[in-house]
Protein backbone atom coordinates (compact mmCIF):
# COMPACT_ATOMS: atom_id res chain seq x y z
CA UNK A 1 0.00 0.00 0.00
CA UNK A 2 1.35 3.36 -0.87
CA UNK A 3 1.65 5.57 2.12
CA UNK A 4 1.69 8.79 0.17
CA UNK A 5 -1.42 8.03 -1.72
CA UNK A 6 -3.61 6.98 1.12
CA UNK A 7 -2.38 9.06 3.97
CA UNK A 8 -4.16 12.27 3.55
CA UNK A 9 -6.41 14.66 1.92
CA UNK A 10 -8.99 12.40 0.48
CA UNK A 11 -11.75 14.63 1.54
CA UNK A 12 -12.23 16.28 -1.81
CA UNK A 13 -12.36 13.03 -3.65
CA UNK A 14 -14.58 11.54 -1.03
CA UNK A 15 -17.14 14.22 -1.34
CA UNK A 16 -17.42 13.41 -5.00
CA UNK A 17 -17.50 9.67 -4.77
CA UNK A 18 -16.83 6.86 -2.39
CA UNK A 19 -13.30 6.53 -1.16
CA UNK A 20 -12.46 3.12 -2.46
CA UNK A 21 -13.60 3.96 -5.92
CA UNK A 22 -11.67 7.18 -6.01
CA UNK A 23 -8.47 5.50 -5.02
CA UNK A 24 -8.71 3.03 -7.83
CA UNK A 25 -9.66 5.77 -10.18
CA UNK A 26 -6.60 7.74 -9.29
CA UNK A 27 -4.33 4.82 -9.90
CA UNK A 28 -5.92 4.01 -13.22
CA UNK A 29 -5.59 7.60 -14.19
CA UNK A 30 -1.90 7.61 -13.52
CA UNK A 31 -1.36 4.42 -15.47
CA UNK A 32 -3.03 5.97 -18.44
CA UNK A 33 -0.68 8.88 -18.28
CA UNK A 34 2.36 6.67 -18.14
CA UNK A 35 1.54 5.42 -21.56
CA UNK A 36 1.12 8.79 -23.16
CA UNK A 37 2.70 12.15 -22.59
CA UNK A 38 5.92 11.16 -20.82
CA UNK A 39 9.11 12.13 -22.59
CA UNK A 40 10.63 10.43 -25.63
CA UNK A 41 13.82 8.59 -24.83
CA UNK A 42 15.82 9.19 -27.98
CA UNK A 43 16.84 12.82 -27.97
CA UNK A 44 19.40 15.17 -29.46
CA UNK A 45 21.78 16.96 -27.17
CA UNK A 46 24.09 19.80 -28.08
CA UNK A 47 27.31 18.93 -26.28
CA UNK A 48 30.41 21.03 -26.81
CA UNK A 49 29.01 22.32 -30.07
CA UNK A 50 28.21 18.88 -31.44
CA UNK A 51 24.76 17.38 -31.85
CA UNK A 52 24.64 13.97 -30.24
CA UNK A 53 21.73 11.52 -30.49
CA UNK A 54 21.40 9.74 -27.18
CA UNK A 55 19.00 7.29 -25.62
CA UNK A 56 18.21 8.99 -22.34
CA UNK A 57 16.01 7.62 -19.56
CA UNK A 58 13.46 10.07 -18.21
CA UNK A 59 15.15 10.24 -14.83
CA UNK A 60 18.70 10.38 -16.09
CA UNK A 61 20.98 13.15 -14.88
CA UNK A 62 23.22 15.06 -17.23
CA UNK A 63 26.28 13.82 -15.33
CA UNK A 64 25.26 10.23 -16.06
CA UNK A 65 24.59 10.94 -19.70
CA UNK A 66 27.88 12.73 -20.19
CA UNK A 67 29.96 10.18 -18.35
CA UNK A 68 28.28 6.91 -19.14
CA UNK A 69 26.54 7.45 -22.45
CA UNK A 70 28.92 9.86 -24.14
CA UNK A 71 32.20 8.86 -22.47
CA UNK A 72 32.91 12.42 -21.39
CA UNK A 73 34.45 11.45 -18.07
CA UNK A 74 36.01 14.83 -17.39
CA UNK A 75 32.79 15.74 -15.60
CA UNK A 76 33.36 14.21 -12.18
CA UNK A 77 30.86 12.88 -9.71
CA UNK A 78 32.05 13.82 -6.25
CA UNK A 79 28.85 13.68 -4.25
CA UNK A 80 25.99 13.28 -6.74
CA UNK A 81 24.07 15.67 -4.51
CA UNK A 82 24.88 19.22 -5.57
CA UNK A 83 27.11 19.62 -2.55
CA UNK A 84 30.58 19.68 -4.10
CA UNK A 85 30.65 21.12 -7.62
CA UNK A 86 32.94 18.55 -9.26
CA UNK A 87 30.29 17.93 -11.93
CA UNK A 88 29.87 21.58 -12.92
CA UNK A 89 29.10 22.10 -16.61
CA UNK A 90 27.83 25.13 -18.49
CA UNK A 91 24.30 25.11 -19.80
CA UNK A 92 23.75 28.03 -22.15
CA UNK A 93 26.89 29.46 -20.58
CA UNK A 94 25.67 29.21 -16.99
CA UNK A 95 27.32 26.89 -14.46
CA UNK A 96 25.10 24.03 -13.34
CA UNK A 97 25.63 20.88 -11.34
CA UNK A 98 25.31 18.13 -13.93
CA UNK A 99 24.51 15.62 -11.18
CA UNK A 100 21.43 17.68 -10.38
CA UNK A 101 20.19 18.41 -13.88
CA UNK A 102 17.95 16.13 -15.89
CA UNK A 103 19.35 15.43 -19.33
CA UNK A 104 15.89 15.89 -20.78
CA UNK A 105 15.81 19.45 -19.53
CA UNK A 106 18.80 20.46 -21.69
CA UNK A 107 17.43 19.25 -25.02
CA UNK A 108 17.12 22.75 -26.39
CA UNK A 109 20.23 24.08 -24.74
CA UNK A 110 23.94 24.17 -25.31
CA UNK A 111 25.98 22.11 -22.93
CA UNK A 112 29.67 22.75 -22.44
CA UNK A 113 31.76 20.32 -20.45
CA UNK A 114 35.47 20.37 -19.62
CA UNK A 115 36.18 18.52 -22.85
CA UNK A 116 34.84 21.49 -24.78
CA UNK A 117 36.87 24.18 -23.09
CA UNK A 118 40.15 23.95 -24.98
CA UNK A 119 40.35 25.55 -28.39
CA UNK A 120 39.55 23.44 -31.43
CA UNK A 121 43.24 23.22 -32.34
CA UNK A 122 43.93 21.66 -28.99
CA UNK A 123 45.57 24.68 -27.43
CA UNK A 124 44.42 25.39 -23.94
CA UNK A 125 41.89 27.97 -22.86
CA UNK A 126 43.53 30.83 -20.92
CA UNK A 127 41.98 29.49 -17.72
CA UNK A 128 43.47 26.06 -18.31
CA UNK A 129 46.80 27.58 -19.14
CA UNK A 130 46.76 29.76 -16.06
CA UNK A 131 45.79 26.83 -13.85
CA UNK A 132 48.82 24.96 -15.19
CA UNK A 133 51.10 27.92 -14.61
CA UNK A 134 49.83 28.50 -11.09
CA UNK A 135 49.87 24.79 -10.24
CA UNK A 136 46.26 25.29 -9.25
CA UNK A 137 45.05 21.70 -9.25
CA UNK A 138 46.26 19.34 -6.58
CA UNK A 139 44.45 16.01 -6.78
CA UNK A 140 42.62 17.41 -9.79
CA UNK A 141 39.24 15.85 -9.10
CA UNK A 142 37.50 19.16 -8.58
CA UNK A 143 39.49 20.91 -11.31
CA UNK A 144 37.10 20.43 -14.26
CA UNK A 145 34.33 21.94 -12.18
CA UNK A 146 36.52 24.82 -11.05
CA UNK A 147 37.44 25.49 -14.65
CA UNK A 148 33.83 25.51 -15.80
CA UNK A 149 32.88 28.04 -13.13
CA UNK A 150 35.90 30.15 -14.02
CA UNK A 151 35.18 30.01 -17.75
CA UNK A 152 31.62 31.17 -17.16
CA UNK A 153 32.89 34.02 -15.02
CA UNK A 154 35.40 35.24 -17.59
CA UNK A 155 32.86 34.99 -20.39
CA UNK A 156 30.67 37.40 -18.52
CA UNK A 157 33.28 39.43 -16.72
CA UNK A 158 36.71 39.36 -18.42
CA UNK A 159 38.39 41.32 -15.63
CA UNK A 160 36.86 40.16 -12.38
CA UNK A 161 38.15 41.29 -9.04
CA UNK A 162 39.59 38.57 -6.83
CA UNK A 163 36.48 38.83 -4.66
CA UNK A 164 34.21 38.42 -7.67
CA UNK A 165 36.20 35.37 -8.68
CA UNK A 166 35.93 33.99 -5.18
CA UNK A 167 32.17 34.39 -5.21
CA UNK A 168 31.84 32.94 -8.71
CA UNK A 169 33.82 29.82 -7.84
CA UNK A 170 32.29 29.40 -4.40
CA UNK A 171 30.01 26.57 -5.54
CA UNK A 172 33.03 24.33 -6.06
CA UNK A 173 34.59 22.50 -3.13
CA UNK A 174 38.28 21.71 -3.25
CA UNK A 175 39.14 19.27 -0.49
CA UNK A 176 42.85 19.78 -1.13
CA UNK A 177 42.26 23.43 -0.27
CA UNK A 178 43.77 24.86 -3.43
CA UNK A 179 41.38 27.81 -3.41
CA UNK A 180 44.14 30.40 -3.30
CA UNK A 181 45.86 28.82 -6.28
CA UNK A 182 42.66 28.61 -8.28
CA UNK A 183 41.97 32.28 -7.64
CA UNK A 184 45.52 33.08 -8.68
CA UNK A 185 44.78 31.15 -11.86
CA UNK A 186 41.63 33.13 -12.56
CA UNK A 187 43.44 36.41 -12.00
CA UNK A 188 46.29 35.34 -14.23
CA UNK A 189 43.93 34.18 -16.96
CA UNK A 190 42.21 37.54 -16.91
CA UNK A 191 45.54 39.23 -17.37
CA UNK A 192 45.71 40.57 -13.86
CA UNK A 193 48.62 40.35 -11.52
CA UNK A 194 48.53 38.24 -8.43
CA UNK A 195 50.58 40.66 -6.41
Amino acid sequence: MNVNLTRRRFIKAVIASSAVASQTGCQLGSKDLHAKGSVERLISLDINGKKRRVDVLPQETLASTLRYKLGLTGTKIGCNRGECGACTVLIDGIPNYACSTLSHSVRKRQVQSIEGVANKDGTLHPIQEAFVEELSPQCGFCTPGQIMSAVALLNENPKPSREEARQALSGNICRCGAYDHYLNGVMRASGQSNE
Binding site: S38, L57, Q59, G171
Partner: protein
Amino acid sequence: MPSYDVMPEVQLYQPTEVDDALNLAEKFRQQGWLLGGGQDTYGWLKDRAKNPTALIDLNDIEAFKGIKATSTGIEIGALTTLRDIIRNPLINDHFEILAKAAGRVASPQIRNVGTLGGNLIQDTRCWYYRRGLACYRAGGNLCYADSPEAMNREHALFNASRCVAVSPSDTATALVALNATMVIKNIDGDREMSAEDFFVGPDTHITQMTALEPGEILTGIKLSNEWSNARYYFEKIADRDVWDFALVSIALVIKEEANTVKDSRMVCGGVACTPYRLNKVEQYLKGNPLSEKIITNAAKIASQGAETLNYNHFKIPLMENLVKRALRS
Protein backbone atom coordinates in the same frame (compact mmCIF):
# COMPACT_ATOMS: atom_id res chain seq x y z
CA MET B 1 22.59 2.45 6.09
CA PRO B 2 21.65 1.18 2.73
CA SER B 3 22.78 3.99 0.53
CA TYR B 4 21.68 4.93 -2.95
CA ASP B 5 22.56 7.72 -5.31
CA VAL B 6 21.25 6.75 -8.73
CA MET B 7 18.01 8.28 -9.92
CA PRO B 8 15.30 5.63 -9.64
CA GLU B 9 12.81 4.96 -12.37
CA VAL B 10 10.31 7.77 -12.63
CA GLN B 11 8.18 9.21 -15.40
CA LEU B 12 8.95 12.69 -16.61
CA TYR B 13 6.43 15.15 -18.01
CA GLN B 14 7.52 18.43 -19.49
CA PRO B 15 4.35 20.37 -20.19
CA THR B 16 4.61 23.65 -22.02
CA GLU B 17 1.10 24.89 -21.31
CA VAL B 18 -0.32 25.92 -17.96
CA ASP B 19 -3.43 23.78 -18.38
CA ASP B 20 -1.39 20.69 -19.13
CA ALA B 21 0.65 21.25 -16.02
CA LEU B 22 -2.47 21.73 -13.90
CA ASN B 23 -4.04 18.63 -15.35
CA LEU B 24 -0.95 16.59 -14.63
CA ALA B 25 -0.75 17.98 -11.13
CA GLU B 26 -4.38 17.03 -10.54
CA LYS B 27 -4.07 13.60 -12.08
CA PHE B 28 -1.01 12.60 -10.11
CA ARG B 29 -1.71 14.49 -6.91
CA GLN B 30 0.53 12.95 -4.21
CA GLN B 31 2.10 10.64 -6.75
CA GLY B 32 3.36 13.53 -8.79
CA TRP B 33 6.31 15.72 -7.94
CA LEU B 34 6.45 19.26 -9.25
CA LEU B 35 9.89 20.01 -10.57
CA GLY B 36 11.38 23.49 -10.51
CA GLY B 37 15.15 23.72 -10.23
CA GLY B 38 15.11 20.24 -8.78
CA GLN B 39 17.79 20.98 -6.22
CA ASP B 40 15.60 19.67 -3.41
CA THR B 41 14.22 16.91 -5.57
CA TYR B 42 16.97 14.67 -6.81
CA GLY B 43 18.40 13.96 -3.36
CA TRP B 44 15.04 12.72 -2.09
CA LEU B 45 14.62 10.54 -5.15
CA LYS B 46 18.17 9.23 -5.24
CA ASP B 47 17.91 8.33 -1.56
CA ARG B 48 14.65 6.57 -2.36
CA ALA B 49 13.24 8.39 0.65
CA LYS B 50 10.41 9.80 -1.49
CA ASN B 51 9.03 7.80 -4.35
CA PRO B 52 6.78 9.74 -6.72
CA THR B 53 5.77 8.02 -9.92
CA ALA B 54 6.02 11.14 -12.04
CA LEU B 55 8.06 14.29 -12.22
CA ILE B 56 6.19 17.24 -13.64
CA ASP B 57 8.86 19.58 -14.95
CA LEU B 58 7.45 23.11 -14.94
CA ASN B 59 10.47 24.82 -16.46
CA ASP B 60 9.10 24.92 -19.98
CA ILE B 61 6.07 26.96 -18.99
CA GLU B 62 6.87 30.55 -19.83
CA ALA B 63 3.82 31.85 -17.98
CA PHE B 64 5.35 30.76 -14.70
CA LYS B 65 8.51 32.75 -15.25
CA GLY B 66 9.61 36.32 -15.23
CA ILE B 67 9.37 39.45 -13.17
CA LYS B 68 6.97 42.17 -14.20
CA ALA B 69 5.70 45.42 -12.82
CA THR B 70 1.99 45.67 -12.10
CA SER B 71 -0.13 48.62 -11.09
CA THR B 72 0.22 47.68 -7.42
CA GLY B 73 3.73 46.33 -7.29
CA ILE B 74 5.49 43.51 -9.01
CA GLU B 75 4.70 39.93 -9.77
CA ILE B 76 7.31 37.20 -9.90
CA GLY B 77 6.69 33.90 -11.63
CA ALA B 78 7.35 31.04 -9.25
CA LEU B 79 9.65 29.38 -11.77
CA THR B 80 11.91 32.42 -11.99
CA THR B 81 15.42 31.41 -11.04
CA LEU B 82 17.12 32.93 -8.03
CA ARG B 83 19.83 34.04 -10.43
CA ASP B 84 17.31 36.13 -12.31
CA ILE B 85 15.92 37.56 -9.09
CA ILE B 86 19.36 38.53 -7.84
CA ARG B 87 20.11 40.32 -11.10
CA ASN B 88 16.72 41.87 -11.75
CA PRO B 89 16.66 45.70 -11.73
CA LEU B 90 13.03 45.95 -10.63
CA ILE B 91 13.69 43.84 -7.59
CA ASN B 92 16.96 45.52 -6.83
CA ASP B 93 15.36 48.94 -7.12
CA HIS B 94 12.31 48.25 -5.01
CA PHE B 95 12.65 45.04 -3.05
CA GLU B 96 16.36 44.67 -2.62
CA ILE B 97 15.89 42.57 0.49
CA LEU B 98 14.61 39.76 -1.71
CA ALA B 99 17.64 39.93 -3.98
CA LYS B 100 19.85 39.94 -0.92
CA ALA B 101 18.13 36.91 0.58
CA ALA B 102 18.18 35.06 -2.73
CA GLY B 103 21.88 35.82 -2.99
CA ARG B 104 22.54 33.96 0.25
CA VAL B 105 20.87 30.76 -0.89
CA ALA B 106 23.08 27.66 -1.20
CA SER B 107 25.72 28.06 -3.91
CA PRO B 108 26.00 29.90 -7.23
CA GLN B 109 25.20 26.81 -9.27
CA ILE B 110 22.13 26.10 -7.18
CA ARG B 111 20.99 29.70 -7.46
CA ASN B 112 21.46 29.45 -11.22
CA VAL B 113 18.75 26.82 -11.54
CA GLY B 114 16.94 27.02 -8.24
CA THR B 115 13.62 28.76 -8.57
CA LEU B 116 11.93 31.14 -6.19
CA GLY B 117 8.97 28.79 -5.88
CA GLY B 118 11.25 25.85 -5.24
CA ASN B 119 13.18 27.75 -2.63
CA LEU B 120 9.93 28.62 -0.87
CA ILE B 121 8.40 25.18 -0.84
CA GLN B 122 11.57 23.19 -0.20
CA ASP B 123 11.33 20.64 2.55
CA THR B 124 12.96 21.01 5.92
CA ARG B 125 16.56 19.95 6.42
CA CYS B 126 16.10 18.10 9.71
CA TRP B 127 18.77 15.46 9.33
CA TYR B 128 16.73 12.76 10.96
CA TYR B 129 13.87 13.35 8.56
CA ARG B 130 16.23 13.49 5.59
CA ARG B 131 17.66 10.12 6.58
CA GLY B 132 14.29 8.60 5.74
CA LEU B 133 13.33 7.81 9.33
CA ALA B 134 9.63 7.23 9.93
CA CYS B 135 9.25 10.37 12.00
CA TYR B 136 6.10 12.47 12.42
CA ARG B 137 6.95 14.48 9.34
CA ALA B 138 7.31 11.31 7.32
CA GLY B 139 3.93 10.10 8.55
CA GLY B 140 5.23 8.25 11.58
CA ASN B 141 4.62 8.51 15.28
CA LEU B 142 7.68 10.00 16.87
CA CYS B 143 10.30 12.66 16.59
CA TYR B 144 13.92 11.61 16.65
CA ALA B 145 15.18 15.16 16.90
CA ASP B 146 13.32 15.94 20.09
CA SER B 147 14.46 13.16 22.34
CA PRO B 148 16.66 13.22 25.44
CA GLU B 149 20.04 12.96 23.73
CA ALA B 150 19.19 13.95 20.17
CA MET B 151 21.55 16.04 18.07
CA ASN B 152 19.27 18.96 17.43
CA ARG B 153 21.46 22.01 17.05
CA GLU B 154 19.61 23.18 13.97
CA HIS B 155 16.10 22.69 15.28
CA ALA B 156 13.24 24.93 16.35
CA LEU B 157 12.77 27.31 19.24
CA PHE B 158 9.18 28.25 18.55
CA ASN B 159 5.86 26.72 17.62
CA ALA B 160 7.10 23.17 17.57
CA SER B 161 4.40 20.60 17.89
CA ARG B 162 5.78 17.07 18.03
CA CYS B 163 8.00 17.90 15.02
CA VAL B 164 10.82 20.35 15.78
CA ALA B 165 12.12 20.94 12.26
CA VAL B 166 12.76 24.44 10.96
CA SER B 167 12.02 26.33 7.79
CA PRO B 168 15.16 26.31 5.64
CA SER B 169 14.21 28.95 3.10
CA ASP B 170 16.08 32.26 2.97
CA THR B 171 13.69 33.88 0.51
CA ALA B 172 10.69 32.89 2.63
CA THR B 173 11.76 35.15 5.49
CA ALA B 174 12.20 38.04 3.08
CA LEU B 175 8.83 37.45 1.45
CA VAL B 176 6.96 37.21 4.72
CA ALA B 177 8.63 40.46 5.74
CA LEU B 178 7.51 42.02 2.46
CA ASN B 179 3.97 40.75 3.07
CA ALA B 180 3.99 38.96 -0.25
CA THR B 181 0.96 37.28 -1.71
CA MET B 182 1.22 33.77 -3.08
CA VAL B 183 -0.68 32.87 -6.21
CA ILE B 184 -1.77 29.26 -6.33
CA LYS B 185 -3.48 27.50 -9.20
CA ASN B 186 -5.21 24.22 -9.68
CA ILE B 187 -7.57 22.96 -12.35
CA ASP B 188 -10.49 24.61 -10.61
CA GLY B 189 -8.93 28.04 -10.61
CA ASP B 190 -6.72 30.36 -8.61
CA ARG B 191 -6.42 31.24 -5.01
CA GLU B 192 -4.24 33.76 -3.30
CA MET B 193 -2.95 33.85 0.20
CA SER B 194 -0.47 35.84 2.20
CA ALA B 195 3.03 34.47 2.52
CA GLU B 196 2.49 34.27 6.24
CA ASP B 197 -0.46 31.93 5.82
CA PHE B 198 1.27 29.99 3.08
CA PHE B 199 3.87 28.56 5.44
CA VAL B 200 2.33 26.15 7.86
CA GLY B 201 3.60 24.62 11.06
CA PRO B 202 3.46 21.12 12.46
CA ASP B 203 0.56 21.92 14.77
CA THR B 204 -1.68 21.99 11.74
CA HIS B 205 0.30 20.36 8.93
CA ILE B 206 2.87 18.02 10.33
CA THR B 207 3.79 16.40 7.03
CA GLN B 208 4.01 19.51 4.90
CA MET B 209 5.70 22.87 5.04
CA THR B 210 3.21 24.93 3.06
CA ALA B 211 -0.51 25.19 2.51
CA LEU B 212 -0.04 23.90 -1.02
CA GLU B 213 -2.42 21.00 -1.56
CA PRO B 214 -1.86 18.10 -3.93
CA GLY B 215 -2.90 19.16 -7.37
CA GLU B 216 -1.97 22.75 -6.72
CA ILE B 217 0.91 24.68 -8.20
CA LEU B 218 2.47 27.78 -6.72
CA THR B 219 2.64 29.91 -9.84
CA GLY B 220 3.54 33.38 -8.70
CA ILE B 221 4.46 35.73 -5.92
CA LYS B 222 3.03 39.23 -5.76
CA LEU B 223 4.78 42.03 -3.97
CA SER B 224 2.67 45.07 -3.32
CA ASN B 225 4.19 48.51 -3.16
CA GLU B 226 3.29 48.67 0.51
CA TRP B 227 6.90 47.89 1.46
CA SER B 228 8.74 48.87 -1.66
CA ASN B 229 11.87 50.90 -1.00
CA ALA B 230 11.42 50.58 2.74
CA ARG B 231 14.58 50.47 4.79
CA TYR B 232 15.50 46.83 5.16
CA TYR B 233 17.93 44.49 6.77
CA PHE B 234 18.72 40.90 5.92
CA GLU B 235 21.30 38.68 7.51
CA LYS B 236 21.83 34.99 7.51
CA ILE B 237 24.12 33.22 9.94
CA ALA B 238 25.22 29.79 8.84
CA ASP B 239 28.23 27.64 9.62
CA ARG B 240 29.64 27.95 6.13
CA ASP B 241 28.91 30.85 3.87
CA VAL B 242 28.13 28.57 0.95
CA TRP B 243 25.57 25.75 0.89
CA ASP B 244 24.64 25.85 4.54
CA PHE B 245 21.18 26.70 5.73
CA ALA B 246 20.55 29.45 8.21
CA LEU B 247 21.15 28.72 11.86
CA VAL B 248 19.20 31.93 12.28
CA SER B 249 18.37 34.54 9.69
CA ILE B 250 16.55 37.81 9.96
CA ALA B 251 14.57 39.93 7.53
CA LEU B 252 13.31 43.34 8.50
CA VAL B 253 11.47 46.06 6.60
CA ILE B 254 10.81 49.22 8.47
CA LYS B 255 9.25 52.63 7.91
CA GLU B 256 10.17 55.50 10.13
CA GLU B 257 8.61 58.90 10.58
CA ALA B 258 9.96 61.71 12.67
CA ASN B 259 12.51 59.42 14.28
CA THR B 260 9.94 56.92 15.41
CA VAL B 261 8.93 53.64 13.91
CA LYS B 262 5.80 53.98 11.87
CA ASP B 263 5.53 50.38 10.88
CA SER B 264 7.74 47.37 10.52
CA ARG B 265 7.73 43.69 9.73
CA MET B 266 10.37 41.44 11.18
CA VAL B 267 10.84 37.76 10.43
CA CYS B 268 13.33 35.17 11.62
CA GLY B 269 14.34 32.08 9.69
CA GLY B 270 15.74 28.92 11.24
CA VAL B 271 13.88 29.23 14.53
CA ALA B 272 10.50 27.72 13.74
CA CYS B 273 8.95 25.46 11.20
CA THR B 274 7.77 28.53 9.32
CA PRO B 275 9.35 31.91 8.84
CA TYR B 276 8.80 33.25 12.35
CA ARG B 277 7.21 36.65 12.38
CA LEU B 278 8.07 38.80 15.39
CA ASN B 279 4.62 40.30 15.82
CA LYS B 280 5.20 41.43 19.38
CA VAL B 281 8.39 43.20 18.45
CA GLU B 282 6.65 44.95 15.60
CA GLN B 283 3.88 46.13 17.92
CA TYR B 284 6.35 47.22 20.54
CA LEU B 285 8.35 49.25 18.06
CA LYS B 286 5.39 51.07 16.63
CA GLY B 287 5.58 54.71 17.63
CA ASN B 288 8.85 54.25 19.47
CA PRO B 289 12.20 55.74 18.54
CA LEU B 290 14.97 53.26 17.81
CA SER B 291 16.93 54.08 20.91
CA GLU B 292 19.39 51.58 22.34
CA LYS B 293 16.99 50.87 25.17
CA ILE B 294 14.08 50.20 22.84
CA ILE B 295 16.29 47.98 20.71
CA THR B 296 17.45 45.98 23.71
CA ASN B 297 13.88 45.52 24.86
CA ALA B 298 12.82 44.52 21.37
CA ALA B 299 15.48 41.82 21.31
CA LYS B 300 14.24 40.42 24.62
CA ILE B 301 10.67 40.43 23.35
CA ALA B 302 11.78 38.62 20.21
CA SER B 303 12.94 35.55 22.06
CA GLN B 304 10.04 35.35 24.48
CA GLY B 305 8.42 31.97 24.44
CA ALA B 306 11.42 30.16 23.03
CA GLU B 307 11.56 26.53 24.06
CA THR B 308 15.01 25.07 23.71
CA LEU B 309 16.12 21.56 22.87
CA ASN B 310 19.43 19.90 23.77
CA TYR B 311 21.70 21.77 21.41
CA ASN B 312 19.94 24.86 20.16
CA HIS B 313 19.83 27.37 23.00
CA PHE B 314 22.55 29.38 21.26
CA LYS B 315 19.85 30.44 18.84
CA ILE B 316 18.28 32.64 21.50
CA PRO B 317 21.19 35.07 21.86
CA LEU B 318 21.87 34.76 18.15
CA MET B 319 18.32 35.75 17.35
CA GLU B 320 18.34 38.56 19.87
CA ASN B 321 21.60 39.87 18.48
CA LEU B 322 20.28 39.77 14.94
CA VAL B 323 17.21 41.71 16.01
CA LYS B 324 19.49 44.32 17.52
CA ARG B 325 21.69 44.46 14.45
CA ALA B 326 18.69 44.79 12.19
CA LEU B 327 17.27 47.67 14.17
CA ARG B 328 20.61 49.42 14.57
CA SER B 329 21.40 49.17 10.89
